[in-house]
Symmetry: C2
Subunit: 114 residues, 2 copies
């Protein structure tokens, strides 16, 4: 049971005992991994950062293509990934698409790192 670095009772060092099995369920791991996968791209992090640090709290998609340095379809793709991961919401007003972050989702991920 007790794992000892220096053997205490005998010269046999124990290992490979029992671990807390329900550290993280497979479903929880799948859900969290999908969320972190959405953050595992520099272009997406920059997009998210641009939206999060905008003074108005929301950013038009046309304001993202330039700073990110990727083509318009690529930025659109990344925005779709972020939206499907629940990290941003989109709101079409006229010709433009406005994006804003979902703070609750970020808190959810922060809590997972504890």
């Amino acid at each position: 049971m007790a794992r000892s670095v220096q053997p205490e009772t005998t010269t046999i060092v124990q290992c490979c005992g029992v671990v807390g099995d329900p550290a993280l369920t497979v479903e929880q791991a799948d859900s969290l991994a999908a969320a972190f996968a959405a953050l595992a791209d520099p272009a997406r992090l920059r997009v998210l950062s641009l939206i999060a640090t905008s003074e108005a709290g929301e950013v038009c998609a046309c304001d993202l293509v330039g700073p990110v340095g990727k083509s318009q379809p690529t930025v659109s793709h990344h925005l779709k990934v972020l939206r499907e991961a629940g990290l941003v919401t989109s709101d079409k007003r006229g010709v433009w698409m406005w994006y804003r972050v979902v703070p609750e989702r970020l808190v959810e991920l922060r809590d997972a790192l504890a």
Copy 2:
């Protein structure tokens, strides 16, 4: 300058103005994306969770193969990814490899989600 949802002065709705350029540098985005990529896998999240929730604060590699449900080389590969991402440290004692989390690294990632 001012982005207005309902036009106020004229019927022209402005868009595509200026955004805070240094929301996140390319270097910062690359570093963060690499760290999040290490978390973007269910098996790796389970490994990290098993280590983090261990009562001793460290876990022998042999204790991970079973609960994770992957082969020994696969678990070893995931541990290598976590180590290279700075999320865990390894410590060889005798025949066994002991792993423990790096709390500072987790804090670093949590701070990035703000």
